[in-house]
Amino acid sequence: MTRISVGKSIFFLIVICLLGVFPLGVGVSIIRLLTSIFMYTVLSQSWNIIGGYTGYISFGNALFFGLGAYTTGVLMLHLHTPFVLSLLASAAVAFGVAFLIGIPILRLKGHYLAVATFGVAEAMREVFNNLRGFSGGGEGLSFPLPPGDIRMVSYQFYYLMLLAAILTMIMAYHVTRRPAGYAMAAIRDDEDVANVMGIHTTKYKILAFCLSALFTGVVGGIFGYWVTFIEPNNVFSIQISVMMVIMVLLGGIGTLWGPVIGAFILEILSDLLISRVVEYHGAVLGFIIIVVVLAAPRGIMEIIKERKKLSFSYFLENIRKYQA
């Protein structure tokens, strides 16, 4: 396992300290924006573990987000479980469900896996829409209100999401630099060869899926308590599943910092668009997705790496690469 250099660790400490004191000086709306950036960092980095490092593309990771949100919500509302304990339960539920559905579903690949993961998430959305009683069904679920005034509450969620983002980054960093990470990369590059080399591919695929579910479930729980009201169409939405993919694509698939960059850029952009052109926000977002996928499918990390020979022809080459 490689060690991080002293300079690098000091740099990260400074960044983390800056992020720690930053909210004290800015308005609530900016804290809110940063909180959602951290949340999407967790979501896209988690997706990156199964989609980027292992090469198994899921279009249904909102499943774990929704399950996490509902686990925390139901526990807090009905059993009056403390928030942090509920989050642990969310993590356990997400991890467990990923394990159970991972065993059958990760036998599929490519298009079929994409459709199947989408199907599982949609089925769960419909289940929660029809469950009556404790989860509130289609009418949604109201969390208990977090105590404290609005500024204190927004600090709380800022630090919680920041912590979740840091933990996810640490997990992703360690995953890629351990034998398990090498196994995942081998599966992505050529699963048959990996199998022949004696890698227990099924085991590592399921492990990757479970790890990608873990913090997704946790931030689902934090999200629910943060916005205080969730409904199935919201937390199990395909939009959330696809946002994870798009942020990773924008930043750079299979890279450590790509998902962070993607989350920052897309969330800030989306915030700007919503405040300027509410009506055409979705259309502009769609347009950006098309342009990014066509011109830079390997994302910003690749552009940074290739910056020396970057020119217009780099983008042209990208556009031509997959054409008929």
Binding site: A116, F118, G119, N130, I246, A283, G286, K321
Partner: protein, 287 residues
């Protein structure tokens, strides 16, 4: 008696579903592209039929061929200038790109036409005939017949014409097709155009029977996934049988368990089929 009537209603709806899924699975099967914007094409077709009917006073069934032509051109343009550049890309790239396309189209439509529901009414909207004790609304019956005719024509197009042979050849072996003088780029434009035309004409059929809005498409996309997987890729009969089965399941599920549960049944079915028999009921590798 009620039971049989419900089955018949489901079957009639299944015809429209079959046409939507036919276009979807054609594009998936030939071009290996999961077109997430397929639902948006259904919506565009519905609006095309709506505008043609309301602005010219033409019978909506007469507007359907015009809708098909318009949507064929729209699909061809989308293929030539967007999809063409990702056609060899891995699944996550094509899916993400077409999702972006879906967002773009639906939101532009929302801006242009608002989220209000619109509907086409014709003099025979409520008219119906009886076969024994069973009731058939004229519009739905005509739509069902048109759906069957379209599926048959598509089958003839793919199996009997030169272009159809070129499409099949492209799917089987790209390089050999090229060597034999098939213009692959043109084949892709035709295939995607036909897929969009089928989505569009189905949208028009929906517009004749139900109110339409810019957000109507997404549920048809989810349905296309299910039918394409259920029927299997690689034949015209697959989506037809898949569509009819789906219509039956939907009607039966709503009747026996409740409307809310049809989604659960459908998606659970999707996942189970994928796991047990990913090639579907009639799936083959080639057309």
């Amino acid at each position: 008696m009620v039971f049989v009537q419900i089955l018949l209603d489901g079957l009639l709806l299944g015809g429209v579903y079959a046409v939507i899924a036919l276009g979807f699975s054609l594009v998936w099967g030939i071009m290996n592209i999961i077109n997430v914007s397929h639902g948006a094409f259904v919506m565009l077709g519905a609006y095309a039929t709506y505008w043609i009917t309301t602005s010219s006073g033409l019978d909506p069934f007469m507007a359907l061929p015009i809708t098909m032509l318009i949507m064929f051109i729209v699909g061809g343009i989308v293929q030539r200038f967007i999809i063409n550049y990702v056609i060899r890309a891995p699944a996550y790239i094509t899916i993400t790109l077409t999702f972006g396309l879906e967002l773009l189209i639906v939101n532009l439509a929302l801006g242009a036409w608002t989220a209000n529901f619109r509907s086409i009414t014709v003099s025979y909207s409520g008219a119906r005939f009886f076969v024994g004790p069973f009731l058939f609304p004229y519009t739905r019956f005509f739509i069902f017949v048109s759906a069957l005719v379209l599926t048959g024509l598509m089958h003839l197009f793919i199996t009997r014409t030169k272009t159809g042979a070129a499409i099949r050849a492209t799917r089987m072996d790209l390089e050999s097709a090229r060597l034999n003088g098939v213009n692959v780029r043109r084949i892709y434009i035709i295939t995607f155009g036909v897929g969009a035309a089928l989505a569009g004409v189905a949208g028009g059929m929906i517009a004749i029977t139900y109110p339409i809005s810019p957000q109507m498409g997404f549920s048809y996309l989810a349905m296309s996934f299910i039918i394409a997987v259920l029927g299997g890729l690689g034949s015209m009969a697959g989506p037809l049988i898949g569509g009819l089965i789906f219509g039956l399941i939907e009607a039966l599920g709503s009747f026996l368990i409740g409307t809310g549960f049809k989604g659960i049944i459908a998606f659970t079915l999707l996942v189970i089929i994928l796991l047990v028999r990913p090639s579907g009921i009639l799936g083959r590798e080639y057309y």
